[in-house]
Symmetry: C2
Subunit: 148 residues, 2 copies
Amino acid sequence: MRDSDPSVFFEVFNEIGIIEQLSRAILEARLPDGLIAPHFGVLNHLTRVSDGRTPMEMARAFQVPKTTMTHTLKGLEQHGLVKTRPNPDDGRSKRVWLTDKGRDVRAETIAGLGPDFAKLAEEFDVNQLVEIRPVLTALREYLDAARD
Amino acid sequence: MRDSDPSVFFEVFNEIGIIEQLSRAILEARLPDGLIAPHFGVLNHLTRVSDGRTPMEMARAFQVPKTTMTHTLKGLEQHGLVKTRPNPDDGRSKRVWLTDKGRDVRAETIAGLGPDFAKLAEEFDVNQLVEIRPVLTALREYLDAARD
DNA sequence: CTCCATTGGTGCGATTTCGAACTACACAGG
DNA sequence: CCTGTGTAGTTCGAAATCGCACCAATGGAG
């Protein structure tokens, strides 16, 4: 099998697809009832990048249609985890802010994942993940830039 | 940041989630109207592993609930890409077979992806993917085995 | 053979995803 | 100032995902 064999892409994307499903299941097992992975993704994004992002900024960040982001934010708002204010700089858009409860839910979820990650770190060679992370980042950035 | 920092998992799973979305979009752009990634996944599985699998075998292989597999197979059958027969070894279950059209659609889709992969191979260092593939496989196998 | 717990598959309803169409606002050119 | 083009967000409807409840067949224990 030569390096240029296209089946390498196939196999890598296939493994990535399965890992995505399995890791999502691990996360969702730790989330409060009624919340799923995309909700947590938004809470996490607002914490890491910072509050006050617009829905469209986040839709682009997550590569989802804007209608999907509308729906995800509606769910978060109903649970009292985020609140939205009009964007003073642009009358068409909103800005999304975390509530204290939203911050708490994120923190508790991450704390809940601690044992899962600890077990993983014991039984799987973490150094291998450290090594592949830059490649994954480069691949993600390339695919992101290449999408028309 | 030490190797045991749990945030490595977080970041790796995050990149994997985004790559999964982007690669799925590439695949679905090449699929005939009305077919999405899970449909192709089944066609591909039946080709690689071989015909005559049962729905439950495939639900386990793809880590999806059996109701989802029922729905996916219904779509494939409506498009004439698979046909099901009763399982002579077990009256509760079915066996799923590819039709000629199903084989054709899979082959044409893979052919359609050729240019995408060729472009990717030109602009992204494929050797890096060859190198990370075993780690991804090991991670997938570990997570699969660890799921209770 | 008769239970009966287990397994494969489907029907149904709730939620999610997402494209198409629409409204409201922004901004640049005449 | 208008007017046209583009962007942010929502609504709506179709399809997908998935848990729950159900039915039919299996296969072991007694």
